[in-house]
Symmetry: C2
Subunit: 214 residues, 2 copies
């Protein structure tokens, strides 16, 4: 997929631990029916082979819908399955090394936990930013202090590349993130842990689209 | 390093958990003084960034001695630090995918736990095999049944690429592995957990070289 064609509006980050026994593939399939526009597959515990097999299954499903697949952390897995991109946190591979390996063949997204992270990542050639955490979140406990919408607006004013907010986002606060200049809303538990991921995704995308029209 | 120039005689596989608080870099530095000819860096618990930083430090040390550095499992880390090779187990990235990514720029070693694994890996273009486990080992508990020297000889007769034995090997049984046709002896705890890794490596390489002369 052309980098410029990626729609970051509703960006799902998977989490096997929050899925209440449902498979990641099932969560993804249900969530895209509700309107998810981009999927990041995150697997921290399984073998490389299992991650690859999972990614192939998810990619197969997303490809038919023209929804991009981004792989968390593992550039090797992203290359193996020819994912659309890789998302790198501040303790993952440095952006410059990753860019040297994949050149422009792959989207590279970076987690920015501060204004400094964001400016540096744009300078180093990131394709988009995950600005986090907007709010405190139980999903990740190793995060920096919440940036709030004020922090998000400050980052938005400083960089030109697309950015999605992440951290404690749900249908009720998604609109504020969009109105603060984000190109999209990234969620984990708001969809993965929802009783009905399709319905949760639909509420999110509706609120995101409404916020854009206001 | 040219693939054909790799000396697999004494192949050290690192394990942070067995190092009794000593750093992996310290273990490697000491072990190469004793005669280790090839180092595989294995990190299962740390962040990608930490793995990369560790690999850069180890590579810097090994490069001066012309000793190859192989990265366990993580092709992305191997590419990032321009390691000499990557070692893939049966639950890591499939060999064909890895070869497609790195072409011939990198050595790819494969863990073979059976004659079938070994034949398949050679057919798919592995540069060398780690035949395991030769004996039962406390280092890894998820392994296949021990192959013994008989199993090793059967594999040696079936494939032409270099192979190292691994699993329960130490200075006392290393000679048997060489006499059974292995190109080298791979060890974890026999060096990593030794009070004196240099001395342990020296005893190993002496016994390996003696076995070759017999």
């Amino acid at each position: 997929m052309e980098h410029s064609l990626v729609d970051y509006s509703l960006y799902l980050v998977t989490d096997r631990g929050l899925s209440s026994g449902r498979s990641t593939l099932e969560i993804v399939e249900t969530a895209v029916r509700g309107g998810v526009t981009c999927v990041q597959l995150r697997e921290k515990e399984c073998s490389t082979l299992e991650f690859i097999e999972q990614a192939i299954a998810v990619k197969e499903r997303l490809k038919a819908l023209n929804i991009p697949l981004i792989i968390n952390d593992r550039l090797d897995v992203a290359q193996a399955v020819r994912a659309d991109g890789v998302h790198l946190g501040q303790t993952d591979m440095p952006l410059k090394m990753a860019r040297e390996i994949v050149k422009v063949s792959m989207i590279i997204g970076i987690s920015a936990e501060s204004l400094g992270d964001a400016i540096q990542a744009e300078k180093d050639g990131a394709d988009y930013l995950g600005v986090s955490p907007i709010y405190a979140t139980p999903t990740k406990t190793d995060t920096a202090p919440p940036l709030g919408l004020e922090g998000l607006r400050t980052i938005r004013a400083a960089v030109d590349i697309p950015l999605v907010g992440i951290g404690g986002l749900n249908p009720d606060n998604a609109a504020g993130v969009i109105r603060s200049g984000a190109d999209g809303v990234a969620v984990v538990s708001a969809i993965v842990a929802a009783d009905d991921p399709e319905k949760a995704a639909r509420r999110l995308i509706e609120n995101i689209e409404r916020a854009r029209r206001q």
